[in-house]
């Protein structure tokens, strides 16, 4: 039987290689029961492979993990009995209707015929899919498909749910809906392991975050701790004239240290330990004739955290090999 533990997931030294590539290269994770835990990293960092190992779809080459107290290799069946997975691809059957998909999953989980139908209708209603219930899933929008996918994962409420990039490709409105669902599930007591490449998503939802890059956890902690590890804060400056940004960058680099250029061509930020130093930086900018539209002192964004940890921005790797492709080639 499982030992009582407050950890829903305990993984040590997980390794998985596909051919020459070590997709996961010694991952340790400790996820508290009842939390939303974010696994954050760019495409190809090893997130999907990690989740697939924990969900018993892939056998690790090395290392161990216990999910809800059960070993993922020796007690894989017990793990499957308590978790559910919402994969990166919406894992629903396109040739069936939404309702049929949910009835099928209900039957497979052991619900009786009548109860499976009843449960399907209940979920379709809760997820705003009643109108589309009789339509084939291939005609669903991305957001509807994702909601159906998540509802298929809770036909029987799991103790732990794996969510692999649940909002990738969704419009902001559908994304907010998925976030609401995740929050509702956490409130209902389900532990959630959330893989994402969106920094604000992890920031919004997660109690704890592991930053993963090249198959390794490179940082771990609460969103606040991660930000603090980069520096106590950051000075954000927006200039009136984007042309002056190179000059501002030079000055702030000299006065304060690491400078991060933001997507807005007139904005930049610099890591900054305290407000006195920040005031000096601002004063130095105006002395040099750099005109400032506004400035603020705040915590660094997770974007900056990622840059500081890895030396490259979070989303510049998208062209590199995606994890699922590697797996098919294995």
């Amino acid at each position: 039987m499982s030992t009582p533990s407050t950890l829903a997931i305990e993984a040590t030294g997980l390794v998985k290689s596909f051919g020459q590539t070590r997709a996961v290269d010694g991952v340790d994770l400790a996820v508290r029961s009842g939390s939303v835990y974010g696994v954050l990293g760019p495409n190809g960092a090893g997130k999907t492979t990690t989740i697939r190992m924990l969900a018993t779809l892939l056998r690790p080459d090395a290392g161990e993990a216990r999910v809800l107290g059960h070993d993922i290799v020796r007690e894989a069946d017990a793990v499957r009995g308590a978790v559910s997975l919402t994969g990166q691809l919406a894992s629903v059957d396109e040739d069936l209707t939404g309702r049929e998909n949910l009835i099928l999953i209900g039957r497979l989980l052991g619900l009786g015929r009548a109860r499976a139908k009843e449960r399907a209708d209940e979920l379709l209603d809760a997820f705003g899919l009643t109108e589309a219930a009789g339509r084939l899933v291939k005609n669903y929008s991305g957001g509807m498909r994702r909601r159906l996918d998540i509802s298929a994962s809770i036909v029987v409420t799991p103790q732990l749910m794996f969510l692999d990039e649940p909002t990738t490709g969704l419009d902001p409105r559908s994304r907010n809906q998925v976030w609401d669902i995740i929050r509702a599930m956490q409130a209902g007591g389900t532990t959630i392991l959330l893989c994402t490449q969106y920094l604000d998503e992890a920031d919004q939802l997660a109690d704890g975050i592991a930053v993963i890059d090249h198959g390794r956890v490179i940082a771990e902690g609460t969103p606040g701790q991660l930000k603090a590890s980069v520096g106590s804060g950051a000075l954000h400056v927006r200039l009136l004239d984007p042309e002056q940004r190179p000059e501002a960058e030079r000055i702030l680099a000299r006065e304060l240290g690491t400078v991060h250029l933001e997507a807005d061509p007139a904005a930049l930020s610099a890591s900054c330990a305290d407000s006195d130093r920040a005031a000096e930086g601002i004063a130095e900018l105006s002395r040099s004739g750099v005109r400032i539209a506004d400035f603020s002192l705040g915590q660094p964004s997770l974007d900056e955290v990622f840059l500081a940890l890895t030396g490259h921005p979070a989303e510049d790797q998208t062209a590199e090999e995606g994890a699922p492709e590697e797996e098919r080639a294995a």
């Binding site: 697939r52 779809l57 894992s91 039957r107 619900l111 209603d125 809760a126 997820f127 705003g128 409420t157």
Partner: protein
């Protein structure tokens, strides 16, 4: 024209309170038994036939065309008359029709993998082979339909089974049994290939020569000796011989047992291979 359905275009949202309620109201039932899980997948196969009937049309139109084409184009030349040739080739066209259908077992499995549905099935607490075994239910319906369509076309064209309808049914049963064995070959292919289309092309590219270099459409005595030698060892020839025997009312037990043995060997090799690949690679 007044439209009563002036609904707003935006779909209703997922309601967080309702979601919370839906989560709290679900109890975990006892696990589905092995049989119940497989049957649920069988139901899924039937639904797919209902929602995507095109897959049946693809598979049956070719044999129907071939039956018509061969009978009227080559019948006179090969057998002296179209009627005599139809008597000869109909068992072969049934074999062709049903065996083509087996490729779709691999295509369907590959589609499930590339679309990600298999991930969900594999993460459920069910017998791991249930999706594959359950698919057999849907497959058998397809096989029987594919075979039946050819029989009907044959009867309309004037085919008369010497072995009576019993013989036709027995032949069909034998062909379907053999198809179950062959389907495992294509599920294996379905697990190795990268796309459903690749599975389809590979399947048809393998089936076409094997079906044509058999005794399905021509008597092998007329062939060059090297090809005749191949035809004689081709398992598809053995199946055609046995089916023809049953439909002509002149079946030999040895022919039938040979086919059953071959189907058993193919199953014994490829069913475990499929299951193994499914568990490790899908």
């Amino acid at each position: 024209m007044s439209t009563p359905t002036t609904r707003t275009q935006t779909p209703p949202d997922a309601d967080a309170a309702a979601v919370r309620k839906a989560i709290s109201s679900a109890e975990r039932p006892p696990r589905a038994s092995t049989g119940a899980a497989a049957l649920s997948f069988g139901w899924r196969g039937m639904l797919k036939i209902k929602h995507v009937p095109e897959q049946l049309i693809d598979v049956t139109i070719t044999p129907v065309l071939f039956t018509l084409l061969f009978t009227y184009m080559y019948g006179g030349a090969i057998s002296g008359s179209t009627g005599a040739y139809l008597q000869f080739i109909l068992p072969g066209t049934i074999v062709m029709s049903v065996l083509f259908t087996t490729v779709y077992s691999g295509v369907a499995l590959n589609t499930d993998i590339t679309k990600g549905v298999v991930d969900r099935f594999r993460s459920l607490p069910i017998w791991p082979a249930a999706p594959l075994v359950g698919a057999v239910v849907g497959d058998s319906v397809r096989y029987v339909l594919a075979g039946t369509i050819v029989v009907i076309v044959g009867l309309v064209l004037g085919y008369s089974p010497e072995g009576g309808m019993d013989g036709v049914i027995a032949a069909m049963a034998l062909v379907v049994l053999f198809a179950f064995g062959l389907a495992w070959v294509f599920t294996t292919v379905g697990l190795v290939m990268r796309s459903p289309n690749a599975v389809m092309n590979t399947g048809f590219m393998a089936l076409f020569p094997l079906l044509f270099i058999s005794n399905a459409f021509v008597p092998p005595e007329t062939l060059p000796s090297a090809i005749e030698a191949f035809v004689d060892v081709n398992p598809f020839s053995h199946l055609v011989t046995a089916a023809r025997g049953l439909m002509d009312g002149a079946a030999e037990a040895g022919d039938i047992f040979l086919v059953l043995g071959e189907a058993a060997v193919v199953t014994a090799v490829f069913a475990p291979l499929t299951l193994r690949l499914y568990r490790t690679r899908a």
